[in-house]
Amino acid sequence: MDQYNTISMAEPRSRRIQTKQWWKILAYIFMVLLLITTITPFVSLIFASLKGSIDSVVTNAFTPPHTWEWGNYIEAWVTGRFGIYFFNSLLVAVVVTSLGIILGLLVAYSMVILKVPFNPLWLILFTMGLILPEEAIIIPSYFNLHKLGLINTYWALILPQAALSVAFAALFLRPSLLAIPGDLVDSARIDGCNKLSLVGHVIFPLVKPALSSLVVLFFLGTWNDFTIPLVLTFKDELRTLPLGLYLFQTAHRVNVTLQAAGSVIVALPVIVVYLLFQRTFIEGITEGAIKG
């Protein structure tokens, strides 16, 4: 508001302030409505998961429960076998993320710093990974993994996703590595650094922000993925959370409180991690959009 006082303008001051206030009120109303629209489904989910009788969910999902039936969660966890699914999602996400980042970093390192031959060829090959969707490999992966005897193992879930992650990581880290001044590398080499310790002591600290973005992107992508677990696994013990939740929903079509409890179980970890690491999360997603 103060900026207006020092600048001469055509309109009288009172009218200017009125217009600006009018816009602001409109903005507030809009935001509050949008906030309500965004939050209400989540709130109703939590309410539905805590209700004792199925009927009150069906008739009105948006009133708070009379009694808070925390037992629903235990029932969902046990009946839905979410413990196993949780473990699977975690295992796959951690392995895929680690493989993708480590191998991707080494690949980018070899291309940018070590300057392996045929660099442009590798670049083109990896870039194709960015523009081809997951759907392109689900059927052949099923075929190949079956032939390799790896269908219905954790490898089926890990390998295709890790393969794609390596390509993405390599390309994502390239700009960060290219930005490292050659003198830095040279002086480290002169100081007696070998190839491996260069990565650890010099490169790694410099690309840490990019790495944390990758961690967010890979973890989230793997955790929420529905298609690959659906196509490549049949054993219940191998299923991940989204798939487990989907089957849980199918198995308990009528029992909506149980469905709700299951959904909360699946959604909560990601939300908690997001709230705790908001900055990193948001930076990771926006960096992924900009550089991807």
Binding site: I7, T19, W23, K24, Y28, F30, M31, L34, P41, F42, L45, A48, V58, L99, G104, L106, V107, S110, M111, L114, V116, L125, G129, I131, L132, P133, E135, A136, I137, I139, P140, S141, Y142, F143, P160, A162, A163, L164, A170, K195, W223, N224, F226, L230, V231, P242, Y246, V256, Q259, A260, G262, S263, V264, V266, V270, I271, Q278, F281, I282, A289
Partner: protein, 293 residues
């Protein structure tokens, strides 16, 4: 000097490249090519395959389910490319320029739907769309528009829009973040100069904000088009392609044909089409990028 030779050692250097490259080739790139090859075969099982040339593609053209699935794919692409982008843009601009209280909270909440898995969100929305008692119907009754009530998931005419609306709800936060990042890069002094020249809020909007976001708008649109192709999880958790195939999406159709009906070849050809669509959209991104740099 031994060190120098170590650094130039081709085989040693390749060791850094090879693991990642091998993993990528074996489990992504080569399968992608295999997919194309499979699409020219009829495969009744994992062992028997007959080369049929373009037959799969020919049957696709007259396949009504394919036509529906393709049409729905286009629907989601267009929907995702417009409404969430617009909504995200408006929200981002308001948050960045209007200096409201609680901006951080709003930004945090609006992004929440994007990170929760689509299946959980699909389940959640059944209470929004449930006939007569769901939130949507309750609100409509409340504001006197009760006659607009429909059986949202059950009516072939409305089902896909119902799912689409969920998609808009899910993705606008992501769009908002892209624009917020872009707006942060805008030079504040441009706005100061404009105010000195007597520009009001609307002028500033048109002449400074929008042009500076041109690239972000393009990126956001293209990214969300790609999101629009990934509605499989959401559809499965809500309408499952029904009622009557009115929400059938390409992914579901491809997986159905390949695995439930055992025709891997046709399924492969369907995924080739999905791939082509994604390819065209992604190539657009890269073309824009080149213009940028």
């Amino acid at each position: 000097m031994n060190q120098e030779r170590n650094w130039r050692n081709l085989w040693g250097n390749s060791l850094y490249l090879l693991p990642g490259l091998m993993l990528y080739l074996l489990f992504f790139l080569i399968p992608a090519f295999q997919n194309m090859i499979f699409s020219f075969y009829r495969m009744d099982s994992l062992t028997k395959g007959v080369f049929v040339g373009l037959q799969n593609y020919q049957s696709m053209i007259s396949d009504q389910l394919f036509q529906s699935a393709l049409f729905h794919a286009l629907y989601f692409m267009v929907l995702y490319a417009t409404i969430p982008v617009l909504l995200g843009l408006i929200v981002a601009i308001i948050l960045a320029r209007a200096r409201l209280k609680g901006t951080t909270l709003l930004r945090c909440v609006f992004f929440l739907p994007y990170i929760v898995t689509a299946v959980a969100i699909g389940i959640t929305f059944q209470w929004v769309y449930s006939p007569n008692n769901g939130l949507l119907d309750t609100v409509l009754k409340f504001i006197g528009l009760g006659f607009l009530r429909k059986v949202w998931y059950g009516d072939e005419a409305t089902a896909i829009h119902a799912v689409g609306a969920i998609g808009v709800w899910m993705t606008f936060g992501y769009m908002m973040l892209i624009f917020l990042a872009g707006l942060q890069r805008t030079d504040e002094s441009l706005y100061e100069a404009a105010k000195v020249d007597g520009a009001n809020v609307w002028h500033q909007f048109i002449n400074i904000t929008i042009p500076s976001l041109k690239n972000d708008i393009t990126i956001a649109i293209i990214f969300n088009i790609i999101n629009g192709l990934r509605v499989f999880g959401l559809v499965m958790a809500t309408t499952r392609g029904g009622p009557g195939n009115s929400t059938l999406v390409m992914d579901q159709y491809a997986i159905q044909t390949a695995f439930s009906q055992g025709d891997l070849g046709y399924g492969a050809s369907l995924t080739v089409v999905i791939t082509l669509i994604t390819l065209i959209v992604s190539l657009l991104v890269m073309w824009i990028r080149r213009e940028e740099s």
